[in-house]
């Protein structure tokens, strides 16, 4: 029998406060940026920004971006990129529009079919990456062009020449699944709150905010599920391992291929979800939907602390990253700054928020 070292309290370890322990988690790093940005706008922006309706207003684009961003973050932790998700929004939107408007399918069929389509394309992306050993950056870049083009060609075919497909709202009207993918949730609650005078109302007594836009709920749910999967399941461990060093992971018995393909399918499905929500909401889809969203999703993930090299990051980080991005893009409209300066502010605020995250974390944890 080997001689065991006795277990004892180590004298070579200093006490650590709870804050330090919390700040060490990548999940919480990005929260500093959210606080900073909030403070900035509390001072500079019109007070309308932080009313209930103002918050819903910037959370809606944040949520749509965040759904993509969380999926992109998981893929990045797994060591790959998907540049085709923006185009996938347009493509899946087209497919969904065709299913509902042209073919008249009910949502219970149209939504799973759209998801299936997206997942298939994600799996193809993943297989090409694994088969050829090429960087996913270049493979999904091809996907970016191909899907965008396919959305255009498809729309022209199915509308007979236009790049916009209309009538989705009419087609899904009354479908029992529609409230899950569009509009606002908790309408009753908000109406009650309005009656009780707890939230702002219009002159006619209806609440200014009729409910919580469903994408915000999807966004929060996805962040929770993704965090749970990453931190509390074997699959999460596999994702970190795959991204950290796919060779070492393979040698340790992690099913790297399966992990990567699943993640590509996940990002594609996240894009399809955004497509379905926005298409039902807008009632139409066109060939330019989701333009540049792939980059915004990666930006979101990186603001949230993901490493481009893989193996490190968090879903909650991407969650806060999306909120930062949404708040900054929409928030400047609430301020009095000359709008020509928009991009300068956007860049400056993003940098500030990320630097702030970093400084706080280093200060607190004594890293380096």
């Amino acid at each position: 029998m080997a001689a065991e070292t006795e277990a004892h309290v180590d004298e070579r370890i200093r006490a650590e406060s709870v804050t330090t322990k919390l700040m060490k988690r990548p999940e919480l790093g990005a929260i500093g940026g959210v606080i900073l940005v909030t403070l900035f706008f509390l001072i500079t922006a019109d007070s309308a920004m932080f009313t209930l309706s103002g918050i819903m207003n910037f959370m809606t684009p944040a949520a749509q971006l965040g759904i993509l961003g969380i999926a992109a973050a998981m893929l990045m932790i797994g060591g790959e990129f998907d540049l085709s998700i923006g185009s996938m929004v347009a493509f899946a939107g087209m497919v969904f529009g065709v299913f509902t408007v042209n073919m008249g399918l009910p949502l219970i069929v149209a939504i799973p079919l759209t998801m299936l389509f997206a997942a298939l394309i994600g799996a193809v992306n993943g297989s090409i990456v694994l088969k050829t050993g090429l960087p996913s950056f270049i493979v999904t870049l091809a996907g970016l062009f191909i899907l965008r083009g396919a959305a255009l060609v498809g729309l022209k075919i199915f509308t007979g020449g236009s790049t916009q497909l209309r009538g989705v709202r009419d087609a899904v009207e009354g479908d029992w699944l529609a409230p899950i993918f569009s509009g606002e949730a908790f309408g009753g609650l908000f109406a009650w709150l309005a009656d009780a005078g707890l939230i702002e109302t219009f002159k006619n007594g209806t609440p200014k905010v009729p409910g919580i836009p469903v994408e915000i709920l999807w966004f929060i749910a996805l962040a929770l599920v993704a965090t749970y999967v990453l931190l509390r399941t074997p699959a999460g461990n596999w994702i970190f391992a795959t991204g950290g060093d796919s060779n070492a992971a393979t040698n340790s018995g992690v099913p790297v291929r399966r992990v990567k393909i699943s993640l590509f399918m996940l990002t594609a499905c996240a894009a399809a979800l955004v497509a379905i929500i926005t298409v039902i909401d807008a009632g139409s889809t066109d060939a330019r939907r989701g333009f540049m969203k792939e980059f915004e999703a990666i930006i979101t993930a990186v603001i949230g602390g993901c490493l481009l090299t893989g193996g490190y990051g968090s879903a909650i980080g991407a969650f806060f990253g999306a909120i930062i991005f949404g708040m900054v893009t929409i928030g400047l409209t609430y301020t009095d700054f000359d709008q020509d300066w928009f991009q300068i502010f956007l860049g400056g605020m993003l940098l500030l928020a990320v630097v702030f995250n970093n400084v706080i974390r280093k200060r607190v944890t004594g890293e380096r």
Partner: protein
């Protein structure tokens, strides 16, 4: 090259049935010939040492054994049946655990997560089935202690461990999961004296439990301390196999040096290094 009567080509230990038998393995990397026909086997309950000079092909050989490389030519028999592992995962599921020379660890991940990577313990069932972190932490700390390392915390990133601590994690993991065959590629290279003696006695322990051990080392004394058979590789080929007791340290060391002259040192090393 010393070829004495105690050396035989690929002889099986005492006629026992080998768990794994590799026949005429060749491996080329592009224009590099790393293995040029190597035959080797390991039976339950024995420690078979694989020795040889740097670059002889030892690591390449055990990587073909554990499913990392596909051999360019040659056959693998597992429990008598011809078999070819498509991935390390398959080899693992067949009961082969390996400590690779590069350790196969993810620096950014915690000790526990590395320890259980690919084989996480779960609790709950159905959708609530989840990674049982508390149990995993406990096992990790316990197994590391058995090897003589008292970790500060199971969530320390492996990248910040010292060289020996990291190697110990890899060994403890392989021992914990090694069901039928345990392959150790220079497991003691970065270990302190206490940890080394723990590893050697661990090899002895698992061998007695009927596990077949493949042990690679450059230290003649470590090999002689636990080995039952000794196979020497040289420049991608087998020089031969000797059985414990039939060969002494000086002979073995000469073989491991690939038959080339060694530098003369002051007498203090007493012949073996």
């Amino acid at each position: 090259m010393t070829a004495d009567s105690t050396f035989h080509q690929g002889e099986t230990a005492k006629g026992a049935k080998p768990i794994i038998h590799m026949e005429g393995i060749k491996k080329h990397f592009g224009n590099v010939i790393a293995l040029n026909g190597v035959t080797f086997d390991v039976t339950p309950g024995e420690c078979h040492c694989l020795l040889g000079d740097n670059g002889a092909g030892k690591s390449t050989f055990i990587k073909t054994m554990s499913g990392v490389h596909k051999p360019t030519a040659g056959q693998i028999f597992f429990e008598g049946k011809p078999l070819s592992f498509d991935s390390p995962r398959e080899a693992m599921e067949a009961g082969i655990a390996t400590v690779f020379q590069d350790l196969a660890m993810i620096p950014l991940m915690s000790v526990t997560r590395n320890f259980f990577m690919g084989r996480e313990p779960t609790k709950g069932r159905g959708l609530a089935k989840r990674f049982d972190i508390d149990k995993a932490n406990e096992i990790t700390m316990e197994e590391m202690r058995r090897m003589g390392i008292n970790l500060r915390a199971p969530d320390q990133a492996v990248g910040t461990l010292s060289g020996g601590e990291r190697q110990t994690v890899a060994i403890a993991r392989a021992v914990y999961f090694g069901a039928k065959v345990l392959i150790l590629d220079e497991p003691t290279s970065a270990l302190g004296v206490r940890q080394t003696s723990n590893v050697l006695s661990t090899i002895d322990r698992v061998r007695k439990q009927g596990v077949g051990v493949v042990f690679i080392s450059h230290n003649v004394r470590h090999a002689l301390a636990v080995g039952d058979r000794f196979t020497v590789l040289n420049r991608g080929q087998t020089l031969g196999t000797a059985v414990r007791g039939e060969i002494d340290a000086a002979e073995l060391q000469d073989l491991m040096a690939g038959g080339q002259e060694m530098a003369q040192l002051e007498g203090s090393l007493g012949g073996t290094i």
